[in-house]
């Protein structure tokens, strides 16, 4: 569904992405892991067209996304830190996003998360009065709202209380059942093991490995996923194309 070909990006002298080749298929949850500054967010922003790569291309169903914005209709994005106009009320924000996307029929919308997080009770509050966690809930609900074919979630559960995080995770799994592609970045290995089918590991702008979870577990002969991952990362550190 999404293909990334030979993607390179540097910010001034710092090379953030050093030639990335991967493809993501529908119906799977892919977790993107890696230490801080590995290039996870930059990769995601390239997919969204927010960062423009120096070299290489991102193809959405075979079409280059450069100078094309229509593919974004089919993407839901939840940023790491969501910030919104301070004076806007939560309800107005949702209305505005529906308006921008020209949604007239409410039945097209997926409002499950809005209800699960009980957001209608804060519809009258302004955005600047919300706590960090509540903002995350709003961001999450917005990402899922338009029934997108691809969901890109940047550290979705960071800052959420355990109950809400659980709700979000089960939502991710139920959306996968509908044959959608979900990309998640995360630092929490138990979460990665719980929700994802494959793991993409980045380190210093390069792909270390991109493998299904079941394969990782059987190859490493470890019962626990977090141990297996660390073993694999250590093993792959000095090997090209692990």
């Amino acid at each position: 569904m999404i293909e990334v070909a030979n993607l390179e990006k540097s910010f001034r002298k710092l090379k953030v992405l050093k030639g990335i080749n991967i493809s993501f298929n529908a119906g799977q949850v892919v977790s993107v892991i890696g230490p801080n500054a590995a290039g996870k967010t930059t990769l995601i922003k390239c997919l969204l067209g927010m960062v423009i790569p120096d070299k290489g291309a991102v193809l959405f169903e075979g079409k280059n996304i450069r100078n094309d914005d229509s593919y974004r209709k089919r993407i839901g994005y939840m940023p790491q830190i969501g910030r919104y106009p301070d004076n806007m009320k939560v309800g107005q924000l949702f209305k505005m996003m529906e308006d921008i996307r020209n949604i007239r029929d409410k039945s097209e919308l997926d409002e499950e998360l809005i209800d699960a997080f009980n957001l209608p009770s804060i519809f009258k509050n302004t955005m600047c009065s919300l706590s960090g966690g509540t903002r995350q809930k709003v961001s999450a609900a917005l990402a899922f709202l338009f029934n997108p074919d691809v969901l890109i979630l940047d550290e979705p559960t960071a800052g959420l209380d355990p109950e809400s995080a659980e709700k979000l995770k089960s939502k991710i799994l139920s959306v996968r059942e509908k044959g959608k592609l979900i990309l998640v970045t995360s630092h929490i290995m138990s979460e990665v093991a719980e929700i994802s089918d494959s793991v993409l590991s980045l380190h210093e702008g390069k792909v270390i490995f991109y493998k299904p979870i079941t394969e990782i577990l059987s190859e490493m002969q470890e019962g626990r996923f977090s141990k297996a991952i660390i073993k694999l990362i250590n093993q792959c550190q000095y090997v090209e194309d692990c």
């Binding site: 969204l48 423009i52 919104y84 106009p85 806007m88």
Partner: protein, 255 residues
């Protein structure tokens, strides 16, 4: 695009700054009319205040506004909207709100105390200056990611056009006072939108007769239809060019 502009306007109106801007202008202008029995003298004071306040408020408010809505722009960029539409919609929203405040604060007292051609001209120039300095603010904010740097740059631009430029001009006149400089000065003023605005309003006032020989040269040029068209064209260029460059940069910017 208009939809986003509409929401920008809603957001700004709820912000108290624009409201206080309107009230401030209204109070100053009304009291200037009340202080003087001759409305034409009041208009020239209003002009002086306007030429300082409108550029300053436009450039500073717009700069701060863009930096504060950076993350929101990020969110919009991830939506199926063209990038240049996002920036232009924000520009429209900001200029529309500032213009509304300016009209309430200036056009209202002018219409009550001194209705006439000069007043209308003053209002038009004020609106154009709002567009020009908002455009410069967008240009600055797109170039620099750092908020403090951006606001500093905005202040510097305003200070340059309001004070430094005229100072340099006077220095230049003084240095070459032995030469006939009317024509070069005419040309040099076109590089400062505030001066352009000031001259074109003064041409509509009776006091231009008091400006002596230079005033006569000005009148010869700016007073004519062609001169007015030239001024207007230059002012529009001052609004369009920085914005166009800003849009070009923004289309390729990493967010």
């Amino acid at each position: 695009m208009l939809k986003i502009a509409k929401y920008t306007v809603y957001d700004i109106i709820r912000n108290k700054v624009v409201l206080s801007y309107a009230v401030f202008l209204f109070v100053i202008n009304t009291s200037l009319f009340m202080l003087d029995t001759d409305p034409s003298r009041s208009i020239s004071s209003i002009m002086s205040v306007m030429l300082i306040v409108v550029p300053l408020v436009s450039i500073i408010f717009s700069t701060i506004f863009i930096y504060n809505s950076y993350e929101f722009i990020e969110l919009l960029v991830a939506q199926p909207i063209k990038r240049n539409h996002i920036l232009l919609a924000n520009y429209l929203g900001v200029t529309a709100s500032l213009t509304m405040a300016y009209l309430v604060g200036t056009a209202l007292p002018l219409a009550v105390y001194a209705p006439g051609a000069t007043g209308i001209y003053l209002i038009i120039i004020g609106v154009i200056l709002t567009f020009i300095f908002t455009s410069l603010a967008f240009f600055g904010a797109v170039i620099s990611r750092d908020k403090a740097k951006g606001i500093g740059m905005a202040l510097l631009l305003w200070f340059f056009f309001s004070v430094i430029y005229d100072g340099l001009l006077i220095g230049f006149l003084f240095l070459f006072s032995d030469y006939p400089l009317e024509k070069p000065v005419l040309f040099i003023t076109t590089f400062n939108p505030i001066d352009l605005g000031r001259i074109s309003i003064m041409m509509k006032m009776d006091i231009s007769a008091l400006m002596g020989y230079t005033g006569a040269v000005y009148r010869d040029f700016f007073g004519t239809q062609a001169g007015m068209a030239y001024t207007l064209l230059l002012l529009i260029l001052w609004a369009v060019v920085p914005l166009a460059i800003a849009v070009r940069i923004f289309r390729k910017k990493n967010l």
